[in-house]
Amino acid sequence: MTDTVVKRVTRKEILKKYKKKTPAQEILGRFLANRLAIVGIIIFAAILFTCVFADLFANYQIDALKMNVPERLQGPSAKHLFGTDEMGRDVFARVIFGGRTSLWIGFVATAFSLLVGGLLGAVAGYFGGKFDEIIMRIMDVMLCLPEILLAIAIVAAFGTNIVNMIVAIGLSRVPRFARIVRSAVLTVRDTDYVEAARAIGATNSVIIVRHVLANCLAPIIVQVTLIFASAILAISSLSFLGLGVQPPAPEWGNMLSSGRQNMREHAYLVIAPGMAIFLSIFSLNLLGDGLRDALDPRLKH
């Protein structure tokens, strides 16, 4: 007899190897195999965590708002992680509380534009004909204007407050959602199961929500992450221009704006909020790309 070790394969292993994966497992597998997407999700989760639980790290009134002139313009140290600004406020505290504002407004604005744009796109795609023509031509007109210009115009016209900002940023992104949802709906509209749903007497609204939109989720999810990123950038841009969140309330954009004066000697004043903007948008874009590749395996670059 030879000494060769016979490798025994257990029944469990065979079953594991040949067991059919569910689509959800396949998508998750593809997503986890994408290293950049993992990096994105880790960075974004870290930012989200620090901003949501900002109270654990600093006190809003004392650290982020109250002036403390004797300690103004100090460099980064153990006490002030990112240093202090020209009024002696802790930059780290301002960055995380500012992030809270940015993420919150960005989230609501994205949800708003998803709701409006998604509804318009779904109706246009599902019913087609004149509906489609009218809605999509209006969307085309809106698309002609640069998004940030449209947002500035809305805020400038109606005044700067949070609600107007949400409407401005949300509204300016409606056409993008409408187009994406419409094109996704068009691919699902004529499938047999939608016809079958009609044949069992389902109403149009039930068909749109349960049968059509439920099957268009993939491109919509991807678009949500990308638009969320662009909404955060828009909030910061508006605040930078003085049209968004008003000082003394912290926001990444207005911190950049006020830090400009002392930027030569105290670069950390703009690096901290700048990095915050960069990292959140970067991570959301990585996440979005990863999701797109995972959800649509046909799209291989």
Binding site: G129, D192, Y193, I200, G201, R210
Partner: protein
């Protein structure tokens, strides 16, 4: 005589595009009695599916026109009912089984939810009761009830077709439209599904319109047969009338195109040519360019309805009066 569930009279359906008018259905009559099965046989593009969709009121509104005719379903004309009333009928009084089970189920809903949806639309039941009914329906079609939480991709083709049958029968409809329900399945599964449908039809006393191009299926499940060609019903009769005493050359041609199991070496005799373009149908009898017994008048006028016996009628000039051609035809048949 039993009550008629479906009574179609003089139905004409046209599809319109920018330039052309597609003559999909041209003046047909159809009757189905309670609990009976009618087979609708014909080549692709003969207008079979269009006829079925018209019964559901599901013809595409913008592209289709119904210039004349009535579709009486359970005593009401479907063509004039408002959308709201139609929705109450669909899935409840009449339901449809589609051709391709692979794509007729929503991939992101569990099969239990999909069956329960039909029930919830038409009956006032709680979610739990509807799901319970869905499970019962699955059991009726031979699928274990606890598989109701699974998604369509976890089922095989034959099982998906059973799920669709369960969905179609969930509200105990009076009429079932089966649009080539076994075309996408392999032969052994076809037999299973047909057996199941026959059993359920008896159990629920459902009338059925079986659309198919397979005479084997017709022989197995149908009571009566209508043969459709280019939007016309060219021959209609009981199984016996059509199988043993077929009159129309087109019906004859369809049977000649089937392989003969008793004489395996005999050559198939296909019908020459192909189905006419429904945009410009041939004049007179639409079958005349392909007909072996074509006469002069065939291209000039559409034949009158000839009643062979109480149940059997045919539209063909061969039976207008005793002509030489007819003698030739009957001699050959005999």
């Amino acid at each position: 005589m039993a009550d008629k569930i479906l009574e179609i009279r003089d139905l004409v359906i046209q599809y319109t595009s920018d330039k052309d008018v597609v003559h999909a259905v041209n003046t047909i009559d159809l009757d189905i009695e309670e609990g009976k099965t009618l087979g609708l046989v014909g080549e692709t593009g003969a207008g079979k599916t269009t006829t079925a969709l018209s019964v559901l009121g599901l013809l595409p509104k913008q592209q289709s026109r119904v210039p004349q005719g009535t579709v009486m379903l359970n005593g009401r004309n479907v063509l004039t009912l408002p959308e709201q009333e139609l929705r109450k009928i669909r899935g409840n009084t009449v339901s449809m089984i589609f051709q391709d089970p692979m794509s007729s189920l929503n991939p992101v809903m569990t099969v239990g939810d999909q069956i329960a949806e039909v029930v919830k639309i038409h009956e006032k039941l709680s979610d739990r009761e509807a799901l319970q009914r869905a499970k019962e329906m699955l059991e009726t079609v031979g699928i274990p009830g606890d598989r109701s939480v699974e998604y369509p991709h976890q089922f095989s083709g034959g099982m998906k077709q059973r799920v669709l049958i369960a969905m179609a029968l969930a509200c105990n409809p009076k009429l079932l439209l089966a649009d080539e329900p076994t075309t996408a399945l392999d032969v052994t599964i076809q037999a299973q599904v047909l057996e199941l449908m026959r059993g359920l039809k008896k159990k629920f006393n459902t009338a059925m319109l079986m659309i198919t191009h397979d005479f084997g299926i017709v022989a197995e499940v149908c009571d009566e047969v209508s043969v459709m060609y280019a939007g016309h019903i060219v021959e209609h009769g009981t199984l016996e009338d059509v199988f043993d005493h077929k009159r129309h050359p087109y019906t004859q041609g369809l049977f000649d195109s089937l392989p003969n199991i008793d004489d395996r070496r005999s050559k198939l005799k296909p019908i020459k040519g192909s189905t006419p373009d429904p945009v410009n149908l041939p004049s007179g009898c639409p079958f005349h360019p392909r007909c072996e017994y074509c006469m002069e008048k065939c291209s000039k006028s559409f034949p009158e309805k000839r009643q062979i016996n109480d149940t059997h009628y045919v539209y063909c000039h061969l039976y207008d009066e005793t002509s030489e051609d007819q003698l030739k035809y009957t001699e050959q048949e005999g």
